[in-house]
Symmetry: C2
Subunit: 425 residues, 2 copies
């Protein structure tokens, strides 16, 4: 199996390449731009995520011998195109919004400059990564806002493709989740991991008491015991009997969580386990989290809704040619006129305009300017070399700072307009 | 980076393992079952997909030295558990519904037998793969039914995680799609690939005519020209002028597709290009495809809706312990009693009951029986060795045969009950 990322690409990128190589336009300088025409479901802001993963994937984007053999022997490309691909290395420039940054309709979150040939090939890979990761980040950020100071545990791996799960855990952490259940995300991305036991562990034993004892003996008093396999109140009593008041936490995974949490809190307090925390899980999304704000809950575990973008599993980002060299060698803005899917031609720059520390507009310009606020496009790749890598922790910090800068309405969960307007100048 | 699949796992599988190893229950024989409590969105049937990918991933499921180092050094598992993991190879049995087979609420689509220790570790990986692939397959099958004899092209790669895209293309093909845009799916899984040009190719050139000419010169008259970059009617005229009546196809990606297709068909016929086909793309799902049944459309390209499961990106399959050895060495059925999430204990067998060639029930039993119809569980892994691999083409054929066997209501796109009831005996 190929280990490169080059075949994670739509066939038409290669067909266009072949026709452009044959027709002579392949070498024209070109600028592609990644942006969203709208935010999904009336969300107030989008969150950039995936840029770091894209930079990694870009470095692995080469056509290996067996890839070329596949492409040529199955008639997907002709021989000259195969030769071009064999020598392919991206040699252009990439600029982009930093991970964790907010974005709005029309924000040019990534700008790719190169020849048409080299830049068109990156469309599918860039969009796959950014559409997935931004979708997860957009949902994760709302959940984190709804949870306030209570920690969120990402545990959606089982609900999504096995590698999408790793990226989802990374995006969730970037947006403020405290930890993930996904071990690969811990290993590859340094995301803190969490997790203790499932119902299967209780069912494995001849009694709930046996199961709790085995767990406490092995994992210590600080562990989290799952208390809803049979009878919640009975399980809580057993748990405190075995562990005493230093029991770390109990987890509730079913029933009306708000009601059950109140009962469990009362019982724990009554049993003297007033420091034992309550973790709730089970089909939580940002709305369910917000609805539990007044319940005695100490942490939330979020699975399906996180891994599937809470109803919006893709960010509808597109990758559009916005400028290219003409036959005289000048860079010309270009735009299609398709009904309902217009684009705005020309290379863009972007700035976040603020007033007294609060964002008031996303300003998108055709020229770099110095007076429109914080510049949003950073240099990521220069002449084919990745220069814009940063630690995930930096992106996590940025997201927190970016949110603090947005108007208060940004944290509204109800559908509405983007929290700041995009101004094209 | 690790190349194995073992870390594509939730941390709690390993914590449970550790506690079970220490407590002495790890070696108990156990049976886990994968099933769905319900079908999403009132769909009439589910489609099994991902089994073949799971068998591949199972063979790569081993903890490499660096994985163990990560798990021990970060305190996720203790040393005895690390030692167990270093020697881990699944040595049990797996039975499952074959890919392409229909399933219903309660269908035991996979059964894993082994010790608790070895079987619990596979939960996350099995669910990730099956939940994703079954979700895509469930949507793809409805789209294929809606499209009838017209070919479907899968082109959703850019709308989902880069590796999820490859699995999605595979699942779509399994369910009757003709081809995919995804080159990796072509290379790895032998799915036929398709794709010609995007708007960027037209915009790259100084005129639409230049672009069409370059494409026809390189790709031949049989190519598909994208005609909605500027003015559709003008583009169609230019296309036929350049290619003549043997032009393969035109693609329309925007506007009211039903209306535009009629206009384009009329124009093509008028220009003598009556054999030139019309391909439509642009946010199609099974409902939009069905709505175009009377329009002069020859093929559909489906992106977002396919790659995101048409509103249901996960199949809500669960992996539950249904039986385990007790301290006397006997296998006992087990089931949790959590509110709203009950499970039925005991190892299961499953059969499709038919009457005159039409399915009438899904029969799930606690013992193998010979009189309840077609057995649905096939042997996939015996004593740790994969024995149930089959070519993707076989799964594709099976899906066609399975659909032909379902009652006519199965192809209804409106929400309703499963097309056959599940009977537990």
């Amino acid at each position: 199996m190929t280990t490169g990322t080059a075949l994670l690409t739509d066939r038409y990128e290669l067909t266009m390449l072949q026709a452009a190589l044959a027709g002579g336009a392949a070498d024209r300088r070109a600028v592609f731009e990644v942006f969203a025409r709208r935010l999904p479901g009336g969300r107030r802001y989008g969150v950039v995520a995936g840029t770091g993963r894209f930079l990694d994937a870009l470095e692995d984007f080469r056509f290996e011998e067996q890839d070329i053999e596949f492409l040529c022997s199955s008639g997907i490309v002709d021989e000259p195109t195969g030769e071009f691909l064999a020598g392919y290395r991206f040699s252009g420039n990439v600029y982009g919004y930093r991970e964790g940054e907010a974005f709005f309709p029309g924000s040019p979150i990534m700008v790719v400059e190169g020849t048409f040939a080299e830049a068109v090939l990156l469309e599918t890979l860039a969009l796959s990564i950014l559409n997935h990761d931004c979708a997860i980040a957009g949902a994760a950020s709302r959940m984190a806002q709804a949870a306030g100071d209570r920690p969120l545990i990402e545990m959606g791996s089982r609900r999504t493709h096995e590698y999408a799960a790793v990226a989802a855990a990374r995006a969730a952490y970037l947006c403020g989740f405290a930890s993930t259940s996904n071990l690969m995300a811990g290993h590859l991305h340094g995301v803190p991991t969490a997790g203790t036991a499932a119902h299967a562990f209780t069912l494995l034993h001849d009694s709930e008491e046996d199961a709790f004892r085995a767990q406490i003996d092995s994992l210590g008093l600080g562990t989290t015991l799952l208390v809803d396999t049979y009878d919640v109140a009975k399980a809580v009593r057993t748990a405190v009997e075995l562990a005493g008041p230093d029991l770390g936490a109990v987890r509730i995974d079913s029933g009306d969580l708000a009601v059950v949490a109140v009962e469990v809190r009362r019982l724990l307090d009554e049993l003297g386990a007033s420091h034992t925390r309550i973790v709730v899980t089970g089909d939580l999304d940002e709305f369910a989290i917000a609805a539990l704000a007044a319940a005695p809950v100490d942490a939330y575990g979020v699975g399906t809704a996180l891994a599937t973008g809470s109803g919006h599993p893709t960010a509808s980002l597109v990758y559009k040619l916005v400028a290219r060299e003409d036959r005289t060698g000048r860079l010309q803005p270009v735009a299609k006129a398709s009904v309902g899917k217009p684009s705005i031609g020309g290379r863009k720059w972007a700035y976040r305009r603020t007033d007294g520390g609060t964002a008031t507009a996303e300003v998108v310009t055709r020229e770099p300017v110095e007076t429109e606020g914080r510049p949003l496009l950073a240099e990521l790749v220069r002449d084919g070399k990745v220069v814009g890598r940063e630690p995930l922790a930096a992106a996590r910090d940025r997201h927190r700072a970016t949110l603090a800068e947005l108007p208060l309405e940004a944290c509204s969960l109800s559908p509405g307009d983007p929290t700041v307007p995009t101004i094209f100048k």
